[in-house]
Symmetry: C2
């Protein structure tokens, strides 16, 4: 028997039931969700957003339906198991998909007060169309806050997927480090490590494995351009650079697992760091330790970032500061809440965060580790387990 | 000397000048763009959208500016060359980034009537924030139609990038076909073909090559799950399936080139098709021929799709129909206009379309080729050149 780690239909039904309670509490006659992460969360339907609108719909009785283009009809039926999967012919076409959606809502008794993540489908990929309030005449109430709050607390099955993701990210990263050497290029090393890790993962998990993510189809590890001169720019897009002695490297690795993500990032060095670089590396590890220890249920997200920033200030490191301490992760590789002085969300068991304070200096490099941490009843569990010490992360020059 | 095929600063300035004329004509005091494709188009700044808002801003005098988080400051300066790059500290933080944006707009004299692609930053990745009209008190006018119309007509430099993309997509596809054989898995073949094609491309184009795309960092070719039983679902997400005799395979290949895309898709067969499958394959090629021949400057997009649908009906093929005949392509892999009976946009020189009518039958498979076609003064040029005939696309069983 082949097994799938995917979220069960029963769990999707539980999520829908909580959404139905929200509709009831707020006197909403139904809800329409256009965001692909929200749709995935409530229906299991994973897709790549385009100009063709797709929506998850539920009425006050808890009946769930999908709204898709003809192109996705069988796919949506198969992935959701919903009895009601309505479709429009095409976009642009006539009638416009939003008018077909309005008919579906009327059929399901959804009128007057509708919860939604936005008043219509976003204008992406050349899509244009009327607002939801316009085609229904209803008052559209934003339900994003409720949904975000719900998605923040991961179930045991979601946490299991994030841990499985961390495992294969670890393999990809191990291979990345093994193949990185002076004279090789970033791309050849990243491709080889990702390629081999993905094949090993698929042989292990079997053909039922599904990425269900917009962020890649398998395990991957790479450098995102964060090498040498570029290292101080944390989110630079990749270029293909040849490794040289003295490079400070910031990596990233992961493996989407039925839509769920983990994050593993390491600062590696080719040859010995200078004393000044070593000082920044050590501060970075100390900052990450501090942030991880601060992740206690009952604390606030802002407390963690405040502790990190206090350390930055205490050690005169603010010139090297660029971003907050981390963010939640799950179906999206960034999501709320954020480990940021501006986010007072209470930290609760079931939340999953990346912890990644970074130091960036134009002539020394970028210094950042990122680990994925699950909040438990007692405290926290770090689910990425790649070594963090400089000796383990130094590649011979 | 190393060369870059990227769009020149001069061309970005020309685009900005046309946008300035639009502001003048519509009595707008400035424009704010949040969409990553629009920002890329007017500034050259390529980035991955997250919960941290980024915007391109221009005032009525034509002064261009970027608005970014601290994290992206150096990156945005380097990529755009703009003198004014404003930044906020972080998201969520206090003050909220939208209030920092409002200050930038005030400094640039942008008030009262503002063009924008949406009234605020979209609520993605857990972002929440006020509308643009709310933080500025201005009337926000949607400028998306003007920008979409402008992006539809590609310059010679844009077309050169799309042709370069087609070349490396062709290599990846050639390797994909070479390595596909009974007993191999979809993923191992896709990874090997993409890996080798990317390395060859990087060795050829040199280290200045940049993908600048959300859709991959190099050349790629793969199957997107469109194999055997799944073949009738055109946009199914990938699963890792082992090739078997009798499989009908629908492929996809491309290579982002400084943000620009081409599209190459082929229907391949392992062993001989049945007569019924062969009949659908032949109809598919005939439909694609018909659609390509219909792509004449002065015709309408709807004319092409109408001709295709007339053929479907004439040959009793409507049960196999699922989607329109194609779409424009450029900085986004799908964009307006669409080859759809609902899109009456006039076809003009400089437009670039995918042409991909498809036939889908649950027990026979999916049948679709997609080629990238540039509209010229005289007619059209097909820039993807992979063979389309069944003999060339049959893999020995």
């Amino acid at each position: 028997m082949q097994t799938s780690l995917n979220i069960t239909r029963a769990e999707f039904r539980q999520r829908a039931e909580r959404l139905r309670e929200h509709l009831q509490a707020h006197k909403l006659n139904g809800v329409v969700l256009f965001d692909n992460a929200y749709i995935h969360y409530f229906s299991g339907f994973a897709f790549i957003p385009t100009e063709r609108p797709i929506a998850f719909v539920m009425n006050a009785q808890g009946e769930c339906a999908m709204f898709v283009p003809r192109l996705e009809l069988e796919h949506a039926r198969m992935q959701t198991g919903f009895e009601r999967v309505a479709h429009y012919v095409e976009y642009p076409y006539t009638p416009h998909p939003m008018h077909v959606l309005a008919r579906l809502l009327a059929e399901m008794g959804i009128a007057q007060r509708i919860g939604a993540d936005g008043d219509g489908y976003p204008w992406i990929f050349g899509y244009r169309g009327p607002a939801l309030s316009e085609v229904t005449g209803a008052t559209v109430v934003r339900s994003a806050a409720f949904i975000e709050d719900m998605m923040m607390i991961k179930s045991p099955a979601e946490i299991a997927l994030i841990k499985e993701s961390a495992k294969w990210g670890n393999l990809a990263h191990r291979l990345l480090q093994r193949y990185t050497r002076v004279g090789a290029t970033e791309t050849e090393v990243s491709l080889r490590a990702s390629h081999e890790a993905t094949l090993a993962m698929l042989e292990t998990l079997g053909p039922l494995y599904a990425s269900h993510s917009l962020h890649g189809d398998g395990a991957s590890a790479g450098y995102r351009g964060q090498i040498g001169r570029n290292a101080a720019i944390p989110h630079a897009l990749a270029n293909n650079i040849t490794f040289q002695p003295g490079d400070v490297l910031v990596t990233g690795a992961g493996a989407p697992m039925w839509g769920y993500h983990s994050e593993l990032e390491r600062t590696m060095a080719i040859g010995n760091l200078t004393d000044e670089q070593k000082r920044l590396f050590d501060h970075m590890v100390a900052l990450q330790d501090l942030a991880i220890r601060s992740l206690q249920p009952g604390a606030r997200c802002s407390d963690v970032d405040r502790a990190v920033r206090a350390y930055f200030e205490q050690h005169d490191l603010m010139p090297y500061w660029k971003h907050h301490s981390g963010h939640a992760i799950g179906l999206r590789y960034h999501e709320a809440p954020f480990l940021d002085v501006g986010d007072d969300t209470e930290i609760k068991p079931g939340m999953v965060f990346t912890v990644e304070p970074g130091l960036y200096a134009a002539h020394l490099g970028g210094f950042r580790h990122s680990d994925t941490v699950v909040i438990t009843d007692e405290g926290y569990e770090v689910v990425t387990y790649y070594p963090r010490d400089l000796a383990s992360l130094t590649i011979p020059a």
